[in-house]
């Protein structure tokens, strides 16, 4: 039968030559291969110390942004929840009271805003749906593993962008006092 790909190798059953029967040349060939691998660069990334760089378009953990004056942008319109194909977002809307103008930008705001990270498929449709540019999927953070399911429901405490270092979190985990101090010296 003719080969269509021209890559077929025709095998002939020939008696082995003396060099082949002596095994040793083949063994040295094998040894040279393993020795070459011994000196090649390793593929391993030592995880906690080294991390693999994220893609710039990576869609990770959500954040609820604040505006330039530090007010929450979200107005609890619910468009993100409607857009969400996994139905991961729930929220409760509330009316802004007098004297809260420095906290919330619009008259309506989200009293609670929860994303279930076990349901979320990180498609980014919420980000696209948001008319107030309030919800974003960060390119450098992801939801870390937890022991309990309810720990994956991220509330406003973990989603809203923090103002002060003391309230900021790293990968969804509240910063410790030492980490916050370190961050403060970095910012100063």
């Amino acid at each position: 039968m003719q080969s269509l790909s021209n890559r077929a190798k025709i095998l002939e059953k020939k008696p082995m030559t003396l060099a082949e029967r002596a095994y040793l040349p083949a063994i040295f060939q094998g040894l040279s291969i393993t020795l070459r691998h011994f000196f090649t660069k390793k593929a391993t990334i030592r995880y906690p110390e080294e991390t693999r760089p994220f893609s710039p378009v990576f869609r990770g953990l959500h954040v609820l942004k604040r505006d330039e004056q530090g007010r929450e942008r979200c107005t609890a319109c619910g468009l993100c929840a409607v857009a969400c194909p996994a139905e991961a977002i729930t929220m409760v809307a509330g009316e802004r009271k007098k004297g809260e103008q420095n906290l919330y930008r619009e008259e309506k705001y989200a009293v609670s805003y929860e994303i279930n990270m076990l349901r979320c498929i990180f498609c980014g449709l919420c980000e696209e749906a948001c008319p107030k540019a309030a919800v974003y999927l960060q390119a450098d953070k992801m939801a870390p593993p937890r022991f309990e399911r309810d720990e994956f429901i991220y509330g406003k405490d973990r989603l809203v962008e923090p103002v002060a270092p003391d309230t900021r979190s790293k990968r969804g985990i509240q910063l410790t006092a030492e980490q916050a101090d370190k961050l403060r010296t970095q910012l100063a």
Partner: protein, 364 residues
């Protein structure tokens, strides 16, 4: 032998004992790292810097595991197996000359446990006893897989010891002595004040014998490609299937000590032991140019020899691991055919060849 030299030799033996345990410990680490490197991984690097505390962690793990005796196993023999394997492995390093004699005034200390004129016979006697540890352990386990592994170990050791012994006879024909120290001292050429000193090593006089010895050494220490006694794929774990805790640890340990001993013997028999290239220039430099006393110059020269010996041993150990992570295992009938129909006739041919070359005066 005076009381003082007895004390010195006791010290040397203790150091050799400690060193062989230490090297065996770190062999487990080296094996994992070398395996990892050859598979483009990095290996254990969590415990301590570069994972150097890994053997300690392994030891703690081994000691804290449950000691388990399988039902129907003979307790006494089950315990005796690993003990015997470990004892015989440790005994054989006693006669290996790790260095020449050091001089402290009038006393000269041989860097060798015991200097006996039948060192080579002693080693092969003790090493072949090692198979009893495997045999007893495998049999006492009351498990078919263990027994199969033990039987394989026994028949493999017998087959390959023959070829190994025949390869050694050719070395003995050249050296004319069974003392390992004498054999080492012969493998140097004081007249050649250059790199050419290494051509006095037996490996250049006995290339065929060396290859036979090397192959048999792999089989004797149950290493891949001859690790049939403990092959996981066919026999679960071979003779140590039923073993747990430190008893298993002793078996694994004794394997590494055996490798250490075999590589040490190999470097003594074929690679000039504690001789190293440019050694006479070095001695000349120490005694004439560096302005040291004759004793100190000699002692530093001897210590360099110990370093050279251990370099050779470590290279040998690396080679053993290198081969392990390169070659697949032989099939049992292939193993037997290689031993009986190729290596033994080749070894006999080598003896005839050596005899012919000696009578014609080509090699001395």
């Amino acid at each position: 032998m005076t009381f003082e030299t007895l004390g010195w030799q006791g010290l040397v033996i203790l150091v050799v004992f400690g060193l062989s345990l230490l090297i065996a410990t770190y062999c487990t680490y080296a094996e994992r790292v070398i395996a990892a490197f050859m598979q483009d991984r990095v290996g254990p690097d969590r415990a301590g810097p570069y994972g150097l505390a890994q053997p300690l962690a392994d030891a703690v793990k081994m000691f804290t595991k449950e000691e388990f005796f399988p039902g129907g196993a003979s307790k006494a023999l089950f315990t005796l197996g690993p003990c015997l394997a470990m004892t015989t492995a440790l005994m054989s390093s006693a006669v290996i000359p790790f260095g020449n004699a050091m001089q402290f005034g009038d006393t000269s200390v041989h860097l060798q446990g015991i200097e006996i004129n039948v060192g080579m016979l002693y080693i092969f006697g003790v090493v072949s006893l090692g198979v009893y540890g495997v045999m007893i352990g495998g049999w006492a386990s009351n498990n078919k897989f263990s027994l199969l592994g033990a039987i394989r170990a026994a028949s493999q050791n017998i087959s390959y010891e023959l070829a190994m012994g025949l390869a050694l006879i050719a070395v003995l024909m050249i050296s004319g002595t069974l003392s390992l120290r004498e054999i080492t001292l012969q493998q140097t050429n004081p007249g050649a004040w250059h790199l050419g000193d290494i051509f006095a090593w037996n490996v250049f006089k006995q290339p065929i014998g060396f290859i036979i010895f090397l192959v048999c050494a792999f089989a004797e220490t149950n290493r891949t490609p001859f690790d049939l006694p403990e092959c996981e794929t066919e026999l679960v774990g071979g003779y140590h299937t039923e073993y747990s805790s430190m008893k298993l640890g002793l078996y694994l340990f004794s394997e590494y000590i055996n490798i250490l001993v075999v590589t040490a013997v190999m470097s003594v028999l074929y690679f000039g032991g504690f001789n190293y290239p440019f050694q006479y220039e070095f001695l000349d430099f120490l005694s004439n140019k560096a302005g040291l006393s004759a004793d100190w110059a000699h002692n530093i020269f001897v210590l360099m020899g110990v370093v050279a010996m251990f370099m050779k041993i470590f290279m040998g150990i690396f080679f053993f691991m290198w081969v392990r992570w390169t070659l697949p295992r032989f099939r049992y009938d292939q193993l037997m055919r290689l031993g009986w129909t190729i290596l033994i006739p080749l070894a006999i041919f080598n003896i005839l060849l050596t005899g012919g070359l000696i009578t014609t005066g080509i090699i001395k």
